[in-house]
């Protein structure tokens, strides 16, 4: 079974085509998706900017992370759940769109970036916690995260109109 036929099958499931063809379901799920994006993107960006040393240089990184990470996880979970619903309702369009493929690739990169950051330089955060200027690997993680998430939003918008 090809990936395309899986997408066709998904899209034709009664609840998936219901989202697409109902007058209100698609915009409601899309609103939830955008609100969840807002709840997770800004806390993510604030933490990234702290890692880059752009803001709150006197605040310990570990405390900034402890404050913002729960927001990013909750927002991300709601965004994935609503995003899966949106995807199922127009799976074939997504399959055929280059923007969707780039978006998924960027999301994988965001995950890998976060994983590498937590498994490496963040483990030794106690050593550099209070430093206004963070280690280069922390700056790299913050910069990559900012760029990748802006790209995710841009690809999402491009997908909607292409």
């Amino acid at each position: 079974m090809s990936l395309l036929s899986v997408c066709e099958w998904l899209q034709n499931l009664p609840w998936a085509s219901g989202i697409k063809h109902s007058a209100w379901q698609f915009p409601v799920v899309e609103s939830v998706h955008s609100l969840a994006l807002s709840a997770m993107l800004w806390p993510t960006a604030l933490l990234d900017m702290r890692l880059l040393g752009w803001i709150m240089p006197r605040r310990p990184v570990s405390r900034v992370a402890a404050q913002f990470l729960p927001w990013t996880w909750w927002g991300f979970a709601i965004m994935v759940a609503s995003g899966v619903l949106l995807f199922c309702s127009e799976a074939v369009k997504c399959y055929q769109s280059p923007f969707f493929r780039v978006k998924v690739a960027l999301l994988v990169l965001a995950g890998l970036n976060s994983l590498v950051f937590h498994k490496t330089v963040f483990r030794s955060v106690a050593v550099w916690d209070g430093d206004g200027s963070t280690p280069w690997r922390a700056k790299l993680a913050g910069g990559c995260s900012l760029a990748v998430w802006i790209g995710v939003v841009a690809m999402g918008r491009a997908l909607a109109y292409a």
Binding site: S38, A39, W42, R59, R63, I150, V153, R157
Partner: protein, 151 residues
């Protein structure tokens, strides 16, 4: 649906240079909307973090939070400006959609109310009521915006 007396204004909007340019450029709308959404994330993210704290949600580190709040205010103002500046060309590019949509006048009404609430009641009487109304107004603007192409 707006009264017909507004129609000439919306027709004029569609004929402006900015409106026709955005409409005739394939990538202009999604690019402008990307900036609109990023600014919305800054604004709503701030509104949610600052106001939900009043209800004890996400308020782990109260010392950090109270230090954070004043530094988020300028970002919030900048994001409102970016939202309006990016919203205008989008509106000009498809004014008839806005004219025919019930969501558009609701969105503009909520926007005026939210800005007024932010600079008056929330300043003078901060508390659970001010925070709750603020969250409802700003999320309502986001939802009404999503509704423009549909209803």
């Amino acid at each position: 649906m707006l009264s017909e007396s507004f129609l000439p204004f919306f027709e004029w909007c569609g004929n402006t240079w900015l409106g026709t340019t955005v409409r005739d450029t394939v990538w202009a709308f999604p690019v402008i909307e990307t900036f609109h959404l990023l600014a919305l994330a800054v604004l709503l993210g701030t509104v949610l973090m600052v106001n939900l704290r009043t209800f004890g949600v996400g308020a782990r580190d109260s010392e950090l939070n109270s230090a954070l709040e004043p530094s988020l205010e300028p970002w919030m103002r900048v994001s409102i400006v970016v939202l309006i500046l990016s919203g205008i060309p989008m509106m000009l590019s498809e004014p008839m959609k806005c004219y025919e949509s019930i969501s558009f006048p609701i969105k503009i009404g909520l926007l005026v109310a939210a800005i007024a609430w932010h600079f008056t009641v929330q300043r003078k009487h901060p508390g659970k009521l001010a925070a709750g109304v603020s969250i409802l107004l700003w999320t309502g603007i986001g939802i009404a915006g999503k509704g423009i192409p549909y209803v």
